[in-house]
């Protein structure tokens, strides 16, 4: 052993408080998240999508021969959030499922045997990081649109707070949903497909069949609610901000409960 080795008889493990344990587990999860390339690639993809599309929207507005009155650059944040969220969902999803794919869950549980602490820390760190960075990228997207379109688009602060809060909520609910899918399915490909179905494919596909019940079902999917909160679509009488928020909270909660009991 090294010179720092101590007499094992002198070892006494005093259990730390749950709060301290959670803090340390979160610190480890933060290191775990940012020490793999995939995290940086997905973040770069989200950044390119949001800032790039924001700038394109700004140039588009600047080049419009009939500029619309009263438009704000914050609209860019709303519209770019929908495609960019998939990169953030993939970021958190791989943070969860990669441990099952590589077998890394074995040392993870050896180091933190209390599963509830480990899984809660992983959820909060991955979803929290993706949500915070997503909100910052939404701000960058609006600034890019504002700079590209100046002076056509305005950038009012009150509207900005509202948009950023909405985008942050959509990202938070979406990333926790992705974490829940990851814990439930423990498989990257399966969880990605499930995420795409719930957020993109089924909300668009189900109303196309023309049955009322299928349209009603589509409105209960997290993707429909995210689109409604961000862009006010679909223009349905059955959807409100409150119903969308509740639906988007129920989905990740239900998936997390299923994963926890599995």
């Amino acid at each position: 052993m090294t010179a720092q080795s101590t007499d094992p008889a002198m070892h006494v493990t005093d259990d730390v408080s749950t709060g301290r344990l959670f803090e340390r587990t979160c610190a480890a999860e933060w290191t775990r998240l940012w020490t793999v390339k995939a995290t940086w690639w997905f973040l770069a993809a989200a950044a390119v999508t949001m800032v790039g599309l924001g700038a394109v929207a700004g140039f588009d507005a600047a080049g419009d021969p009939v500029p619309s009155q009263g438009d704000t650059a914050w609209v860019a944040a709303n519209f770019t959030a929908m495609p960019a969220q998939f990169a953030l969902l993939a970021l958190v999803l791989t943070a969860v499922t990669s441990d099952y794919a590589t077998g890394g869950i074995v040392p993870a549980l050896q180091w933190t045997p209390r599963r509830a602490v480990l899984f809660l820390a992983r959820t909060i760190v991955a979803a929290g990081a993706a949500t915070s960075l997503g909100a910052l990228l939404a701000l960058a997207s609006a600034l890019a649109a504002f700079a590209a379109a100046r002076p056509v688009l305005s950038l009012p602060l009150d509207k900005g707070l509202e948009v950023l809060a909405t985008v942050a909520f959509v990202f938070a609910a979406g990333t926790v949903l992705a974490v829940g899918l990851g814990f439930l399915l423990r498989n990257t490909a399966g969880a990605l497909v499930a995420g795409f179905l719930l957020i993109l494919v089924l909300p668009l596909l189900l109303p196309q069949f023309g049955y009322e019940w299928m349209s009603a079902l589509a409105e209960l999917l997290p993707g429909s609610c995210a689109l409604f909160l961000l862009n006010g679509e679909p223009d349905s009488q059955g959807m409100t901000d409150a119903s969308s928020v509740i639906t988007m909270l129920v989905w990740p909660a239900a998936l997390s409960c299923s994963a926890g009991s599995g």
């Binding site: 052993m1 090294t2 720092q4 080795s5 101590t6 007499d7 094992p8 008889a9 070892h11 493990t13 259990d15 730390v16 749950t18 301290r20 344990l21 340390r24 587990t25 610190a27 480890a28 290191t31 775990r32 020490t35 793999v36 390339k37 995939a38 990669s98 441990d99 590589t102 077998g103 890394g104 869950i105 074995v106 040392p107 549980l109 050896q110 180091w111 933190t112 045997p113 209390r114």
Partner: protein, 313 residues
């Protein structure tokens, strides 16, 4: 100290571990032996709280492993060295481990140097050989200087230098008063390293004794003797009540005797000897005899394959 009491694990119809009870004491290297499928890894996984026992319990320093908030100062373990994220560097892998248990960052550098990974710690794990993965796993196990260490096949993939290093490390850890449990298929290594052996087969305990007792308990002392008059020696030894077999034209094997006894007899009979030695008992032989009825997966013997090949059209 590890205490295993009535540990049982059933997967559907398969009884992987069957009412296993034994202790792993501090200050000793305890070898954990058994044929493939005997239940060694399942037992170690239950010790570490990774599998839930069907019944019974495994206590580490008096507690179930899963009750430790920060277990690394108590238990360091290497189960599957490949169970790591290949995209992370070795150093970052250890940093994650250190942060979970509040271990100072400088300790990471110490264990990297200790296991000889200094030159590779900055590289991503996907570029590591099996031997390097073993060293990384051992570094993680040693990170918090634990009282109890569990190693599942730690010698796999190590070169000769690595094997000597781990042999010395295990000895040193035990001499420092730690509890060391090592599973291995390499009998010669266990014979050299382990003070005590726990042998299991088909999930059941076959033997729990010191290495010396297991080797001595075979009761098969054998002597090899070479002579220019093997026929005469053969008949004389048999007349004196000894069981003798011919090994080749000039060499005999005498059962349940000693070199001293055979040498004295040959001298009295004036039979010249060219070689005389006690056959050293090996743990491999002991293991085969102990587990002969407990092997889960049998391979076809080479000579059988050969014979079938010869008669094939």
């Amino acid at each position: 100290m590890i205490e295993v009491r009535g540990l049982t694990k059933r997967y559907g119809d398969v009884l992987a571990v069957d009412d296993l009870s034994f202790d792993v004491e501090p200050g000793k290297v305890t070898g954990f032996l058994g044929p493939n499928g005997a239940g060694k890894s399942t037992t170690m996984r239950m010790m570490l709280g990774l599998d839930r026992p069907t019944s019974g319990r495994a206590l580490v320093n008096g507690r179930p492993f899963a009750t430790f908030a920060e277990p690394l100062p108590e238990v360091g373990a290497l189960l599957d060295p490949g169970s790591v994220h290949p995209g992370r560097t070795g150093r970052n892998h250890l940093h994650v481990a250190a942060r979970t248990n509040g271990i100072p960052e400088r300790r990471v550098e110490e264990v990297i140097e200790q296991v000889g990974l200094g030159g590779a710690a900055r590289r991503r794990i996907k570029g590591y050989s099996l031997g390097m993965l073993q060293r990384l796993g051992i570094a993680a196990a040693l990170l918090a200087d634990p009282r109890v260490l569990l190693f599942d096949e730690p010698i796999n993939g190590l070169d000769l230098d690595g094997v000597r290093w781990i042999r010395e490390l295990l000895r040193q850890l035990a001499d420092e008063g730690r509890t060391v449990l090592v599973s291995s298929h390499l009998m010669s290594e266990m014979q050299q390293t382990a003070d005590r052996l726990v042998v299991i087969g088909r999930g059941r305990l076959i033997s729990d004794a010191t290495t010396e007792d297991i080797l001595g308990g075979l009761g098969h002392r054998q002597v090899r003797v070479r002579s220019s008059q093997p026929g005469l020696l053969f008949s004389q030894l048999q007349e004196h009540g000894l069981t003798v077999q011919s090994v080749d034209a000039h060499e005999l094997q005498v059962e349940d005797s000693t070199a001293e006894e055979v040498g004295n007899l040959a001298h009295a009979l004036r039979i010249p000897l060219h070689h005389l030695s006690d056959v050293e008992q090996s743990l491999e032989q002991a293991f085969i005899e102990l587990t002969s009825n407990s092997v889960e997966y049998h391979g076809r013997r080479a000579e059988t394959v050969q014979a079938r090949t010869e008669v094939a059209p």
